[in-house]
Amino acid sequence: MAINTAGTMTPKRPAGTLYRGREGMWSWVLHRITGVAIFFFLLVHILDTSMVRISPEAYNAVISTYQNPIMGLGETALVAAIVYHAFNGIRIILIDLWSKGAKYQRVMFWVVMGLWVITMLGFAPRHLINVFSHVGGA
């Protein structure tokens, strides 16, 4: 960084600036991040569920390792990601198939965010109370 005559910083790095896209671009970025995250969850999920074919004890052993607050918080993040991905997925379907979808995409994005908040308000408190009321083996 060098200070120029206007007292501001001239970037030294050669890379360009971050493109300043609007709701559409950020909804896509979030959709991609949540999509990849959900994929890795499904990978683990299929592995742990398949334990039941080895023995019920093996399955229980694996699942019991999830019964701690860190995994509980992880489950909250997982549900947050899935809820966003699901609602935004419906928005993308409407953009592609509904004749007015492109026109109302920005409104639909905020509807998605609203539905996400409502769903998480219903889920997160109930779930976190469940998780943390069992802390310490209670």
Binding site: N4, T5, A6, T8, T10, P11, K12, P14, G16, T17, L18, Y19, R20, G21, R22, E23, G24, M25, S27, W28, I92, I95, D96, L97, G101, A102, K103, Q105
Partner: protein, 255 residues
């Protein structure tokens, strides 16, 4: 704008001097003969609120650094030569007014992204035009027009593709597309817009050929509806809407 209510009734009010501002532009420079990678350089210019970014670039080139390189032709938003990234968004330099930008901060100007950088604000447009040529952007008909007459089209038929006739091929849309940045094989919004212009033209008979071309792995299905193209278009074309209409036409099998 000045209020005239307080002005004395007799004689014209003395003309108020038009206020000039010092504007800092930080431009991403690249000279392939000297630089290994692009570098940022800042310039201070005196500008009026009604000036455009193109005027600032001219002032720099004419008065401060003649080596600054950029394209412009008509300078009035018709030729589509001076698309560049201004404060992180693709814009035409000749249509971006100083008064519409926050000049308390420096203005960042750089070349459009996703096409090979040649010098300063100039990129190689050839991959962009190659995609454009590939969609066959010209009228195709097996039948002759009526003798000594034009091909007749109803107002409604003409209105069907009116929006996509406005394209000036400035590449602001294609180079705003995150998919195009990482996958240069993607046709890009501009090529699809120009295919749309003929696919939905009632006089044209090659719609199915164009739908086949765009029903490709690198065709319309690469579109992830980020709407960057629609926001960037200096002509206000509803680009994502046009792409969605082409997607639907492919699914229907006809325009």
């Amino acid at each position: 704008m000045t209020l005239v209510a307080d002005a004395p009734a007799s004689g014209p009010a003395p003309e108020a001097p038009i206020e000039a501002f010092t504007v800092t532009l930080i431009i991403r420079r690249f000279d392939p003969d000297v630089d290994d990678e692009p570098r940022w350089q800042d310039f201070d210019v005196q500008m009026f609120a009604t000036d455009r970014i193109l005027d600032a670039l001219h002032k720099i080139k004419w008065e401060q650094d003649g080596s600054l390189t950029f394209r412009r032709s008509c300078a009035h938003g018709i030729c589509g030569s001076d698309a560049m990234r201004i404060n992180g968004r693709n814009r035409l330099a000749c249509k971006t007014l100083i008064k519409d930008l926050d000049i308390t901060k420096p203005i960042y100007v750089e070349a459009i992204k996703g096409l090979p950088l040649e010098k300063d604000l100039i990129v190689d447009m050839e991959p962009f035009f190659a995609s454009y040529r590939e969609v066959q952007p010209f009228l195709q008909s097996a039948t002759e027009p009526p003798k000594d007459k034009e091909r007749i089209q109803s107002v409604a038929d003409r209105a069907r593709f009116d929006d996509t006739t406005k394209c000036i091929l400035c590449a602001a849309c294609t180079s705003s597309c995150p998919v195009f940045w990482t996958d240069g094989q993607y046709f890009g919004p501009a090529a699809i817009v120009n295919a749309h212009r003929f696919i939905f033209d009632s006089r044209d008979e090659a719609a199915s050929t164009r739908l086949d071309i765009l029903n490709d792995k690198e065709g319309v299905w690469r579109c992830r509806t980020t709407f960057n193209c629609t926001d960037a278009c200096p002509r206000g074309i509803q680009v994502t809407q046009a792409i969605a209409e082409v997607k639907q036409a492919i699914m229907r099998g006809k325009p």
